[in-house]
Symmetry: C2
Subunit: 340 residues, 2 copies
């Protein structure tokens, strides 16, 4: 069987099985492990605090092209997507390591821009870039590892902690990154305000680190960052938590620049476009209110966690009418995202 | 200017400069940082212990081909080269993250072998593989991050701590990995004992983790692992420590299978072949003796650290006659290693 037949999730679960067969509870590493493969980041206990680590690669012609993502932005984004994973655990990012693969004829100036983009975001978060590896390869790839911690607090935001009855909420507004990619690849000419917003949404995502910290502090227990798309990532929560979810599509906060420029596709971009790097989280109405009051970005309740042994995500409109995501262009967006 | 004109070391120092310009001593991450870019691994203080992290990628057609390195061995080696970096700091490896890039038509069985090879070595060291990332790309690459610690001891083995008068010593025997690669790429038919040893030396390096721990305990202060080659890696120590080195080539422990099968090339393979993943370290004769008595592998003194503001590595034979490494085939081995 080929990897493509098994699919990414099937592959990950096969690899997790091999890894878990080496589990040795007498080894201190295993004994202190809190979260292994299968959440936004791994977590382990270290002298009273919880340490976090995550790795994510951006590969040319898979995740980006240099036409849509200039070098500075590539550096920013390669770090941002990892910070987003740490944020989704409620952690503070601290250190980053960078494995860089570059063609031999890459301009030194371009690599400098890449590092300057990464360094600018690192500086905002007080992160030290502490090491790396450089190799010459036919195409560009940037693999970043981020190590963080939750400080004194050993609690974490988990994918697996959603409970039936929880409200489902999301930070910020959605659809911008996927709309930005469409604009860039399609050469669409939009008004300059929309164009700037959508471009930045795609190439300069802002990881919700402060918001993740607030969530942890206010008692949220379940969260994930939106990288694959709202519906896909909510499905990850449902599967990990063994629950279902009902989302009211009329409540989904689609960004105004997406609505204004992408008409009937706007909702699909928000539901399934992915790469918005907002946080999707669940909790009681009261806890979500507390989070809303403490953060500076919008927080919108979009649905509710349901008891459901099939772990389905159901979409309805305000009248209760079911909405079929497969007819909203989901596959199209997925494939345009993966083959950009 | 192209990256290839600048060279890897030039590129790393440029990137380190950009990173260091973001240094912020008020940020806890920077404040606790003990070792950043430029040693075998990075190190920072965390609640009384020193944490270590390193990342290394193996890229198809750059570091390996699937003809010379079967999947199981590739998994083993991708982890081993990172453990070797932790060993060279005197640390204990604890956690690993794996970013895997695979062509879509890769056989699932092959990826399983890769993970089984990695898991076998992880199990030997009580390491938990805690996360990763999978992507589909045209060629295979495996980027492993390893996180470790020195335990209660905040001392570290550094590249920068060699002092004039120190003896230079090396663990194990050299030349096996480069000779193994030559045998595999050249299809050489050797006696089965040599063939097995040389093959394993290249595809299944054994990281000297226990030996690095002993070095730290016995008072060694300077070490590096031999990945680029004995002379190149000794040069890294000399540059970091601002000293020179004199090596007696007649003392270099060339493995008998290399001597027996590669005649006049054997010494060149040991001096410059690289990838042996032995530890090269310096210290007083007394400290090196203590290390020798406490480890189970050979420890050989091969030379001495000298005061030298040009940070040269000088090779002599037992009669004191200078030996010119450039005539020993160094460039040839480097290029065969990089383009295998």
């Amino acid at each position: 069987m080929k990897v493509s037949d098994l699919g990414e999730l099937g592959l990950i679960s096969l690899l997790a099985e091999i890894v878990n067969s080496t589990r040795d509870d007498k080894a201190p590493s295993w004994k202190h492990l809190q979260v292994g493969i299968g959440d936004d980041a791994a977590a382990w206990e270290c002298d009273g605090s919880t340490q976090l680590a995550t790795v994510d690669a951006l590969v040319e012609n898979v995740h980006f092209t240099l036409e849509t993502t200039p070098w500075y932005d590539l550096g920013w984004k390669a770090l941002a997507v990892n910070l987003s994973d740490i944020a989704a655990m409620g952690g503070l990012p601290k250190y980053a390591l960078v494995a860089l693969s570059l063609p031999k004829d890459t301009e030194v100036e371009d690599v400098s821009f890449l590092y300057k983009g990464m360094a600018a975001l690192a500086k905002q978060h007080g992160i030290a870039i502490i090491g790396g590896d450089t190799d010459s390869t036919p195409c560009v790839s940037v693999t970043v590892t981020v190590i963080g911690s939750t400080g004194e607090n050993s609690r974490l935001l988990r994918r697996s902690e959603a409970k039936a009855g929880d409200r489902i909420a999301v930070t910020g507004e959605l659809g911008g990154a996927a709309a930005g990619l469409r604009m860039l690849t399609g050469g669409l000419k939009l008004d300059s305000e929309s164009a700037t917003y959508l471009r930045n949404a795609f190439v300069r995502p802002v990881p919700r680190v402060a918001e993740g910290r607030v969530m942890l502090e206010k008692g949220v227990r379940a969260a994930i960052d939106i990288s694959d798309g709202l519906v896909s990532d909510l499905r990850h929560i449902c599967e990990s938590s063994r629950v279902g979810a009902k989302v009211n599509i009329d409540l989904v906060p689609v960004h105004s620049a997406v609505k204004a420029n992408f008409g009937k596709d706007a909702l699909g971009l928000a539901l399934s476009g992915g790469e918005d790097y907002e946080l999707l989280f669940t909790g009681s109405a009261d806890i979500i209110d507390k989070v809303r009051k403490a953060v500076s970005c919008p927080v919108t309740v979009i649905g509710e966690i349901m008891p459901d042994t099939s772990h389905r995500v159901t979409l309805i409109d305000s009248k209760g009418k079911p909405f079929d995501i497969d007819k909203s262009g989901w596959e199209h967006f997925k494939s345009s995202k993966n083959n950009q």
